[in-house]
Point group: C2
Chain length 301, copies 2
DNA sequence: TAAAAATACTCCATAGGTATTTTAT
DNA sequence: ATAAAATACCTATGGAGTATTTTTA
């Protein structure tokens, strides 16, 4: 039944049993038989044939017109199924923290479109905690968070992002080229927060301690825009990743912190069990891009 | 390949090889084999299976979502192909003369929609001569013309349409209930024309002669609206079929001609060779409707 | 008479059946 | 221990081949 449709199609398009049989890599008699059986099981005469001429009946014309595009479509679906299997077709669900949405994520997206052009994506901007839950619940495929890793996930660092000090415009350091951690010893800090679980806050705290001081924190916020406003109002200074510094803000000057350990790691995280083929393929492509031999390395270094 | 799609569908929807095999009226082992072969020839794992649990892989989900509606569609196409074969589905191309477009044709159309609801139609309004050529050239399936038949076609009378005299309002007969051919003896006539081949003109001429007079024709036109205007202007009287009388026209009174032979036959014509199944079915339905036992008779009597 | 479809027949691949084994819960 | 899928093996349908006949333009 289904298997006979391609036979019908070949005879219909060739209007000739012999040529159709050649095209199908078979001999003419079995093809004639298949068509006859097809007609019998349909109860429909599809061809008007003499030994000199083969043409479609009305019903045959109808069937040809309808079935031809469908068989092509099925071929396409089969190809696409193979593409899904090998992880080049599908949808990647990204969960991204606010400060990576406009810097790291676009770079990864460019990589996705270059290396896996058949893949589509869906983006959710989430707090780090919610994002990790979503990865575990297989609601998103890939998370972008700060920090080097987490034993619950598979992870990969995709960027070392330089840290900047955000200073009110009148501040004595606001006119210098760079600042060092030493310069910030006596400052009051507007600090990141995420119900006490902010990776940035922990990172900055470690940084201060390793440079010999305990930061004096006056305000805390989970929203970087709120932090930067507090800086503009003179409530203190803030340490932020480059992505936030780049956005700028009236009344605030951002100065790169010159110490080599003043950076924030950004990682891709994913679930080792539920990772789809596409997820795996994409992670491989990220690896590939970060190898020194690859020209795409720079964008993620 | 194609034949295995329904197997895949059954297993995918049941998530169970045994039940799927039952649904397919076969035993479980060959079904397992078919699925395995299908996976092999695709090069794609479609199911994750243990002895306790069967579920689709990503690629399997993808294939299921895409292929299920298509197989349903193919079933529908097969059914429709059968309908085309038996003449209940398709398009009827009607060619209709002007004076049948608003009277006889709508009745036939109602019959078509009642008896062959899957059929669609296409309507061309043509002169009788062009229409007959179009039937011979298989450009239209069914023509509606005046006259009882023609040896070049198969035909069937579908209406005997009473004739009316169209009279200017001031005319002495314009106040009577009916007129007879005798009353029209001395009148001047505005006559139908179609390059000398009008069936109506021939019919009316025969009618006059059989009632003992040769009509005095002052004007001729192929357009009934033109004829009726000439009547309104007092150029003469016109004999027209009921369909024209029903349309009415300011300044003209239409009176039924009481003689029993004062009618015009309207016929369906079609090509005996190239008639489609639907054409044949429709003609059968017209026969059916004209039988005295059928309640639908009246509309065409 | 020649080209092409249908028929007759033969053979083998493969679909499908039964019995059994393996595996995971 | 049990349900269910996989495996092994057998059978038979039917798909495909070759040789031949029929048909019609």
């Amino acid at each position: 039944m289904f298997k006979r449709l391609p036979y019908f199609l070949a005879v219909a398009s060739e209007q000739h049993f012999g040529r159709a049989a050649q095209k199908l890599h078979m001999s003419q008699p079995p093809l004639s038989q298949q068509i006859r059986r097809f007609e019998e099981e349909l109860g429909v005469t599809l061809f008007k044939r003499t030994t000199r001429n083969v043409e479609l009946t009305e019903a045959g014309e109808f069937l040809l017109r309808r079935i031809e595009p469908i068989l092509k479509e099925i071929d396409g679906i089969i190809d696409s199924t193979r593409a899904v299997h090998c992880g080049s077709l599908g949808e990647l669900r990204f969960g991204v923290i606010a400060t990576a949405t406009y810097s790291i994520f676009p770079r990864l997206l460019a990589l996705l479109r270059e290396r896996l052009p058949q893949a589509t994506f869906r983006l959710s901007q989430l707090s780090a905690a919610v994002l990790k839950q979503a990865v575990l619940a297989n609601q998103i495929d890939l998370g972008i968070v700060r920090g080097a890793g987490d034993p619950s996930f598979r992870s990969k660092i995709v960027a070392y992002e330089p840290l900047f000090a955000g200073l009110p415009l009148g501040h004595v350091l606001a006119s210098s080229q760079e600042v060092s951690m030493q310069d910030l010893k006596r400052e009051r800090f507007v600090m990141w927060d995420n119900n006490g679980a902010s990776a940035m806050a922990a990172q900055i705290h470690r940084l201060c301690v390793s440079h010999g001081f305990e930061p004096e924190v006056t305000h805390r916020s989970p929203q970087f825009l709120a932090m930067v406003s507090l800086v503009a109002q003179g409530c203190g200074i803030a340490i932020v990743p480059e992505a936030v510094a780049r956005l700028g803000q009236p009344g605030v000057a951002f100065k790169r912190i010159s110490n080599p350990d003043a950076y924030s790691e950004v990682s891709l995280i994913w679930h080792p069990q539920s990772a789809s083929r596409l997820t795996q393929r994409f992670v491989e492509q990220v690896d590939e891009a970060r190898r020194p031999t690859s020209p795409a390395l720079g964008v993620l270094a």
